[in-house]
Symmetry: C2
C-alpha cells in the first residue's frame, strides 16, 4: 500500500482536515501510513482535543478555520448539518486552486447549498466514503478504514475535470473504490442502504428493554448494533436526508404490514414468499 515518499502525491501538497474524529482521524492516519509527506493540518472546535490529536502525531499542526489559507485540499469531516456552512465560510479565505470536499453521508442538500456560491477558482466536490463504525473519536482512527470500501463522489456537470481528477487520486490513495453519482441519486440509495437501517435498528433497540437481554442471542445483537451509534450525528444525518428517508420509511412500514397480515392470518404460503424474497436479496450480499 505504501507509495515511495519521494513522489509527491498528485492530489495536494498539504491537506487540512476539519473535524478530527473517527473519519477525519482515519484520513490523517491513512495519509501518513501511505507516505504522504506534506503537512496535515487538523481543525477542530475543542483546542484540548486538537492538541491531543497533534501530540499523538495524527496531525502536524492544529488551526482554526480562518487559518486554513495554506492547505490546497480541505476535507470537511464535521457533522453533516454543519458541512455546507463550514465550507462556505472557509472558501472565502482560500486561494484559487483550493479543492474542498467532505465526508458527509448526505449530499444533495450540501451540493445544492454550495452550487455556484464559491469564489472563482475554488472548487467543492461532494464525497461520501462508505466506511465507519458505531465508535467515534480519533482514538479509534484506523489507517486502513477506507481500504477496499466504496467512496461516492458527486461532481456536477460544471465541475472542472482537473479538480475531479485530484479528488479521485486522494481517495484512491487511501485505498477506496470510487463511484460517481448525482447527489440526489446518492441520497435516495443511502436512504435505503444506510439511513433506513439505522432507524429500523434504533426503533427495535428502543422497545426491547434490557431486562429481556438475557434471552437475546446474536440475531438481536447484530440487528441492533448500529443503534449504538452517536445520536447527535444521526439526528443530523436523518434530518438532512428527510426527503429521501420518509418514502423509504413508508415502503418499509408497508412491508412490515405485509408480514403482519401473513402472520395474523396464519398464511404460511405468503409468509414463506416474504421470507424467501428477503433471503434471496440478502444472499446477494456476499459478506
Amino acid at each position: 500500500m505504501n507509495r515511495p515518499s519521494q513522489d509527491p502525491p498528485p492530489f495536494a501538497e498539504s491537506v487540512a482536515i476539519v473535524g478530527v474524529g473517527l473519519i477525519g482521524g482515519s484520513i490523517a492516519a491513512g495519509l501518513k501510513r501511505r507516505g504522504f509527506t506534506g503537512p496535515i493540518v487538523g481543525v477542530g472546535r475543542d483546542p484540548s482535543r486538537m492538541e491531543q490529536a497533534r501530540s499523538r502525531g495524527l496531525v502536524d499542526r492544529v488551526a482554526d478555520v480562518p487559518a486554513l489559507v495554506d492547505a490546497d485540499l480541505i476535507v470537511f469531516c464535521t457533522p453533516v448539518d454543519l458541512i455546507a456552512d463550514g465550507i462556505r465560510a472557509a472558501a472565502g479565505r482560500c486561494r484559487p486552486g483550493t479543492l474542498l470536499t467532505d465526508a458527509g453521508s448526505v449530499k444533495h442538500s450540501i451540493c445544492r447549498a454550495l452550487d455556484g456560491g464559491l469564489p472563482e477558482g475554488v472548487t467543492f466536490i461532494g464525497s461520501h466514503p462508505l466506511a465507519g463504525s458505531e465508535k467515534h473519536g480519533f482514538e479509534y482512527a484506523d489507517a486502513d478504514l477506507f481500504v477496499n470500501r466504496v467512496c461516492v463522489l458527486t461532481p456536477e456537470p460544471r465541475t472542472p475535470g482537473e479538480a475531479l481528477r485530484r479528488l479521485r487520486a486522494f481517495w484512491e490513495f487511501l485505498g477506496m473504490e470510487l463511484v460517481e453519482l448525482p447527489a440526489d441519486e446518492h441520497d435516495g440509495a443511502v436512504a435505503r442502504t444506510s439511513h433506513l437501517p439505522h432507524v429500523v435498528a434504533a426503533a427495535l433497540a428502543g422497545i426491547v428493554s434490557p431486562e429481556l437481554y438475557r434471552l437475546a442471542g446474536s440475531g438481536f445483537r447484530d440487528t441492533t448494533r448500529i443503534a449504538a451509534g452517536s445520536p447527535e450525528l444521526w439526528v443530523g444525518i436523518l434530518l438532512e436526508n428527510a426527503d429521501s428517508l420518509l418514502p423509504a420509511l413508508d415502503t418499509y412500514a408497508g412491508q412490515l404490514q405485509e408480514f403482519r397480515k401473513a402472520i395474523d392470518r396464519r398464511d404460511a404460503i405468503r409468509l414463506r414468499e416474504l421470507l424467501d424474497e428477503a433471503r434471496r436479496n440478502r444472499d446477494a450480499l456476499t459478506n
Copy 2:
C-alpha cells in the same frame, strides 16, 4: 470442559437426537467432545443424510422414531411445528423413566399440547437453547455452540424434580447457563428478542434490492444478517408464536411511526430522545 469418561454423566446412559441439523448435530458433537460415552442415536427422515451423519462419527447409530425405545433421553431438534406431534408419537413407545425434551424456539404451544398427554413415567420438559446461526445442516455442527449461552427450561409445577435435575445436568454438560421460566413468559420474551428481530431484518432485506448493495456498508449487512436464515424454519417459528409476536410487531410499528413523525416534522429534539433511548438500551448489551 472434558469430564473424565469413566464417570457416567448423570443425565442419561444413552441419548437420541431427533433431527440432526445444526442444533442436533452440535448436541451430538458437544456430548462426544465432553466425554459422553453412551450411544448417541440419530433419527431423521432422510436415510442418506443420516448415514452421512453416522459415517462422520457424529452419531453412533441411526434409527427411525419407532426404534427409539432404548434411549433414556430423547432431544427433539426438528422444526418447531413438528415437535409436539413427534414427541407424542415417540412417547407412546418409551419405557418409564424416559425423559423427552426439545430445542424449539417456541414453548407454550408445545407444552400445552403435551400437558398430561404422556404415558405414566415418561416426562417431557421444554428446552430452548439460545444458540444457532443463519447456517443449517450438521455440516456446521459445532461442539462448542452452546458454551456460555443461555438455555431456557420450562418445567410445569407437576414436573418431577428428578427429571428436571437430569435435564439441567444435560444442558450444563454442554456448557449452557440455565434459566427456568413459564412457557408463556418465555414466548413473550423471545417474541421481542428473537422473532421480532427476524421480521424486522427480513422486511428490510425484502425492500432493498441488490442493485443498491454497492452503497451498503456494515450497518446494512449486520441489520439484515438473520434474513439469510432458513425461510422454512422461520415460517414455523413465527406462526407458532403468532400470539406473542403480533403485539410485539404492533409495538414496533408504533415506535417506527414515532421516528417517522419526528423526521417528518424535522423535530431534532424528539428524534434525539428516540435515538438516545435506543442507544441507552443497546449499550446495556455488553457484547
